[in-house]
């Protein structure tokens, strides 16, 4: 019963919509790529019928919109068929981006949790810092990205760290906000109970506040890891397109390699999905160990 429900409620609708998107994509491929074929035919001075154009639109070198099978073939070629160490391998570029993402995410998480602990325990920090933390979310921090990269390059720091710093910056705020909410989630009655046990502040923290903040932490971790991937990708844009998924996007847009752009985009999407799913698994695992019915 449960399984058929899952199929009926989740797999079917999503599958149908995905299929519809695929069909729309193919139709769009034909319409967007036809003008180019018409032009080529006109330049060659030959008449071309629609049925002749149709297959050609699916296999252009630099299509306006590449067909899904072209993108899949490109991804296959650059991941499985290419040695990982090759500069043209998408796995290599994904790894560069992933390492910056993870480093930035790690630093951001630690910093965010520390700041949240400070905010929860010190009223002055709460009053003076919290409005800025919230305001900073409304500021387009990504705009600073190229400057951080170039300036740190000028001082001689290059490679992983500048990109990771951008990821740190982005992932830091959701975690602060989520953790402050989580550490404050124990109710007064529970805090009073700890008081009657004569628990020290650190005991209250480790035995009450920390465990009850876990659901909030993981929810913000999911947001944070997705956004730190965005940070790492944007961080790769101004470095002059050396390596990483962002660099692939930039190089693709310089040379009109649409297939390359789309394959990098799909790789980034897959990466984001994997990371979010991993955090989701960690979430359920931790909650299960804590004995919560999830």
């Amino acid at each position: 019963m449960e399984k058929s429900n899952f199929f009926k409620d989740r797999v079917m609708p999503v599958g149908v919509i995905l299929l519809a998107l695929l069909v729309i994509w193919y139709v769009a491929v034909i319409f967007l790529n036809v003008p180019f074929e018409r032009d080529t035919a006109a330049r060659a001075g030959t008449a071309i019928t629609f049925s002749e154009i149709l297959p050609k639109t699916m296999f252009q070198q630099r299509p306006v919109l590449p067909a899904p099978h072209q993108v899949i073939a490109e991804i296959w070629n650059t991941t499985v068929l290419m040695p990982i160490t090759s500069k043209r391998s998408l796995v290599y570029h994904a790894w560069i981006t992933l390492s910056a993402t993870l480093l930035g995410f790690g630093i951001g998480t630690v910093l965010g949790i520390l700041l949240a602990v400070g905010i929860v325990h010190n009223r002055a920090m709460d009053r003076s810092l919290m409005p800025w933390v919230i305001a900073s979310q409304t500021i387009p921090i990504l705009a600073i990205a190229p400057m951080i990269i170039v300036v740190l390059n000028a001082v001689g720091i290059s490679g992983l760290l500048p990109k990771a710093l951008i990821s740190t910056y982005l992932s830091f705020f959701p975690i602060v906000v989520g953790m402050v909410k989580g550490l404050r989630s124990p109710e007064q009655i529970q805090l009073d109970l700890m008081h009657t046990y004569y628990a020290s502040p650190s005991q209250t923290f480790w035995k009450l506040r920390w465990p009850s903040s876990m659901p909030y932490l993981f929810t913000s971790l999911k947001v944070a890891i997705a956004i730190s991937l965005v940070g790492a990708i944007v961080g790769e844009l101004p470095t002059g397109a050396v390596s990483g998924l962002g660099a692939r996007l930039l190089a693709g847009s310089y040379y009109g390699q649409t297939v390359q752009i789309w394959s990098a985009l799909f790789m980034a999407a897959a990466l984001a999905a994997t990371l979010v799913i991993i955090v989701g698994f960690a979430h359920t695992a931790v909650l299960k160990r804590m004995g919560t019915r999830a």
Partner: protein, 380 residues
């Protein structure tokens, strides 16, 4: 007098110790510029006098907040103006102790403002808004003092005063960029994307099948680096603002769709039954019950989107743009090492982003005045 916490006592102690070392700062090489610096000491001296006279007249002690404020009024301008006097040499040790004391005092002031309960409602409100303001100002102060006092290379981090000068002197350029990026790309894209998301959510409202299919997809897309479509959009729609609008539309569409759909589902069956007993049509139920109940969700999306839109437009400009626009200016001026111009542009972006968010939040307060989160915020 109220009891001080150990942290507060410590901060007072730092400030007090510093008092013995500050005198050389008032001498000529340091206190260059106008001589008004000495007058700034007046409130502090008055406070000290009042403090010493207190015992004789049995008067209540003046509040410590005033002392901290007087100290800051006296010493912050002095430390700032003496920066000009150092020239290229390093500031003496007593300069740094004064700076540390200023920071400690600002911190103390914040501690006092947030730890005490003021009886007067206006004073309480003032203290509530003063704390973040003092924090922001002390960050700016520290930034200015450190960059100029330690002679940090201008390329690395220009002092705020320099950024401000640049901001004032290049207003026409900044205004042109603001017009291009914000007024054309962001506002258009935001309106289109949010409007489209809203309309699609209403359109699929009657089809649970489409909702079940689109919701997981929309949630999934929200986690993706959607910003990556920027190069494709630039290719399709050209270099001008139309391509940025396209990026913004794509970025804002899905959060709006997902939030509106879940907002429309937020009404309980009890309320819907009530509407049925009134023989309300689907449209009436939508307008009178479900949309009002969905406003908090919709405004949540509007707030998220206000930041996403600006980010999308700026990053899309990294991929190609006419020679105007905030993202364009940032990336080219970085290349020319005009870092102060970059910071000025970032300041404009920050103000624009916060103002945009603030306006949406204000409208939210007006529309969803009945929501618990708004009511609670009012009573505080």
């Amino acid at each position: 007098m109220r009891r001080l916490t150990s942290l507060q006592t410590f901060l007072v102690l730092i400030t007090g110790l510093q008092f013995f070392t500050f005198y050389p700062l008032l001498a000529t090489p340091y206190l260059s510029g106008p001589r008004w610096g000495a007058f700034l000491m007046l409130p502090l001296i008055i406070y000290c006098l009042a403090f010493s006279l207190r015992r004789k007249r049995k008067k209540p002690i003046p509040a410590l907040e005033w002392a901290a404020l007087a100290y800051l009024i006296a010493f912050v301008p002095i430390t700032l103006s003496s920066l000009n006097g150092f020239g290229s040499e390093a500031p003496p040790t007593n300069y740094w102790t004064t700076v540390i004391a200023c920071i400690a005092t600002a911190w103390l002031l914040n501690e006092l403002l947030s730890s005490s309960n003021y009886r007067n409602a206006w004073v309480a409100r003032l203290a509530f808004y003063a704390a973040p303001l003092i924090f922001g100002l002390s960050v700016l102060y520290l930034w200015e003092v450190l960059t100029r006092g330690l002679h940090i290379p201008f390329v690395l981090l220009p002092p705020p005063s320099m950024i401000w000068t640049r901001l004032i002197h290049s207003l026409p350029t900044l205004w042109a960029d603001f017009q291009q990026t914000f007024l054309k790309a962001v506002i258009t894209g935001y309106a289109l994307g949010c409007g489209l998301g809203f309309l699609v959510a209403i359109a699929i409202d009657r089809s649970p099948f489409l909702q079940k299919g689109l919701l997981p997809l929309g949630n999934f897309v929200s986690a993706l680096p959607v910003i990556g479509v920027a190069p494709i959009m630039v290719m399709w729609f050209g270099f001008d603002w139309q391509s940025k609008v396209a990026v913004v539309v794509i970025m804002t569409f899905f959060p709006m769709l997902v939030n509106t759909v879940s907002g429309l589902a937020a009404t309980s069956s009890m309320e819907k039954d009530l509407m049925r007993t009134y023989a309300a049509t689907w449209f009436q139920t939508l307008v009178k019950l479900r949309l009002p109940a969905a406003w908090p969700f919709i405004f949540n999306a509007l707030k998220i989107n206000s930041t996403l839109a600006l980010i999308g437009a700026i990053v899309a400009e990294f991929f190609g743009t006419p020679i105007v626009g905030m993202g364009f200016r940032i990336s080219t001026e970085v290349g020319r090492m005009n870092v102060d111009m970059v910071w000025a542009e970032i300041a404009v972006a920050a103000v624009a982003g916060s103002a945009f968010y603030g306006i949406v939040a204000l409208i939210e307060r007006a529309v969803t005045f009945w929501h618990p989160s708004v009511r609670n915020a009012r009573t505080v």
